[in-house]
Symmetry: C2
Subunit: 112 residues, 2 copies
DNA sequence: TGTCGTGCTACGACTGTCGTACTATGTTTG
DNA sequence: CAAACATAGTACGACAGTCGTAGCACGACA
């Protein structure tokens, strides 16, 4: 079974999170489930990786947090939500461009 | 100017080195120049990264070192050459497969 | 004589990931 | 009703790979 190595993904976890937050604000648990479903279960982000990413990204100004006492239906515990900032959107575009370049270069060293 | 981030390449430096060593044995300085030329100057591996990769890879059994007093033409200083092992070849194939999967997954989070 | 290219080694800092563990509430099921 | 499972996190420290800085040594060339 081939697994995606964390060394490759490193540096693209932030991008994945921003991709999801571009659609709408969300919170940790939900984001981890979205990453799982978007990747068809091929990539499962670790909790600690995810939450430490939030800390870093908020420090960088790529996301902003806000707390909701409850979810919109009035159920559940309070959560910390995150929304993408303008800087985050720009960073996301940059990473997408960088990905294009990186992919092209790496593939020159790959044989299938 | 877009730059390839080391976080993305991390974990694929070994693969690039193995790609080169699959053709023929080589040594540090020469490999760094080949990486530069294959990538059209878009990726320049750092010396320290390269040489610490050699140490790791030899420990892993992916490469073997041997010293030549001189180059085949009889000039220059002695160098440490590396050749790929069978385990290295297998590791390279695995990484190529992994790359295919990783690329596919990452691209679901990328918008151009 | 000095600079540039070659060909390394050593050391320590930094960053992101991850294992482990713990807390706490809500929901479902035997 | 209790146990298990899903939800929603926080804290802490280890680890690996990259990278900055520095230094050494030799040869060629101007």
């Amino acid at each position: 079974m081939i697994e995606i190595s964390s060394d490759v993904i490193r540096g693209y976890n932030d991008t994945m999170i921003l991709f999801i937050l571009e659609k709408e604000p969300s919170y940790g648990y939900e984001i981890s489930k979205q990453i799982k479903s978007i990747s068809d279960g091929k990539y499962l982000i670790k909790e600690t990786t995810l939450y430490s990413a939030f800390t870093r990204m908020e420090k960088n100004g790529h996301i902003e947090s806000f707390t909701s006492e409850q979810d919109p239906e009035g159920n559940g515990k309070k959560r910390t939500y995150y929304r993408i900032t303008d800087a985050g959107k720009e960073y996301y575009r940059t990473k997408c461009d960088e990905w294009g370049l990186t992919k092209e270069v790496v593939e020159r060293f790959i044989e299938h």
